[in-house]
Amino acid sequence: MPPRIRLQTRQLKVRIYHHQIPSQPCFYASLATATTPAPPIEQTIHSVSPIARFPPTQPPSHKPPEVRKSQLHREYQSLLKSSPLVLIFQHNNLRAVEWMGIRRELAIALRKVDAELAATGHKDLYADAIKIQIIQTGIFASALRVVEFYNPESTELPTQHPSNPATATLAHGLSRQAHEAASDRKKKLDLAPLLSGPVAVVSFPAVSPQHLKAALSILSPSAPNFPAPKRKANPSYHEPAVQNGIQKLMMLGARVDGKAFDQEGTKWVGGISGGLDGLRGQLVGMLQNVGAGVTNALEGASQSVYFTMEGRKYMMEEAEKGPEEKKGGEEAKPEGEEAKPE
């Protein structure tokens, strides 16, 4: 019995394809391309918002951020950037009790300065911000190099590549740019020789000669200008623990407004009487004197010109008058002579 559906023999043949069937484009409604307006030109040059591969609070760092060294580096950078006046001391085997005593005495002396300043109506009270701390010299030196030589505001930073968010501009002190700027061995730090061995720093949040004077008279007292507090006034300063500690502290130098100062220079800064106000007063006085001098000098020149001119005028007048007067005199004489006989 023949099959009901009639199949032709040609249809029963198994077809073997040796080449791929060209895939037909499928026309789904959801994939249909609508004509959209072209994106703005800026979007085609710079990527709109590259996918940030890092949270904004944790930018990528050249040095491993989880390491204590990196964190110390960052801390020292912020210390150096925020304190224009840093004193550098060497500490030779101080004991914990001695450190405690020194810190206590320093705080007391600085609070006293603050109280004096507050009494005169000043608002620059820094006593609680001035601290003595032991530093890791190598990391501190490296942080100082970054602070001195890396200036993200002025240097040209490479801009972000449009498609690569990893090339984001990072201006922080642990970035690769900072490392490259600081690792230039041709640049030398003035303070580099100081930063070896056991070193402690005293950081001041502002250049305040009064506070500096108080700190110096506690930490490295010297007789005429920075006397140590008297035994009667401050008996706790003369405790053996504090005195032993202070003998073991050596002041090496200071960094004032980015410049290295030796011991004498630091004492000079501390010796500015009356602090910055005193300095301003001195400057005003000096400028006034200079002004007076300048006006005197200028006046002097014009006066001398005036006097010479006047003198010359007088001479000319004399010369003009002279013969007449002489004539007059001659005339007068005969008159007199004439008068005499009369």
């Binding site: 020789p193 050596m250 090496l252 030796d262």
Partner: protein, 97 residues
């Protein structure tokens, strides 16, 4: 470093010169109670412009004096030099009881 037999240490150095490191390291090696046990320690810090050589003067308890020129010596060499005499003193002390 053996510091038991030192009775006097005097140094002078300019901290801004890299040569001062030896003197500073030497001072840092003295024990915390050095002054309390009768050692006289004096340091002179020279101004920054000074070109004077860093000096170290050490006096032992038996009266021997050492004057070391720190310009050429490294810290380990200074220590060796001081220890050499200290060891002699230590041996003497041991023998005398």
């Amino acid at each position: 470093m053996i510091t038991r037999f030192l009775s006097e240490v005097r140094t002078s150095f300019n901290p801004f010169s890299p040569l001062s490191k030896t003197a500073r390291t030497f001072l840092a090696q003295l024990p915390p109670d050095a002054r309390a046990t009768g050692m006289l320690i004096k340091h002179t810090i020279l101004p920054r412009t000074s070109t004077q050589k860093p000096l170290l003067f050490v006096k032992f308890k038996d009266g021997k004096e050492l004057k070391l020129d720190l310009e050429t010596m490294r810290s380990t060499e200074v220590m060796a030099e001081v220890d050499r005499h200290s060891r002699i003193l230590a041996r003497k002390e041991e023998l005398s009881g």
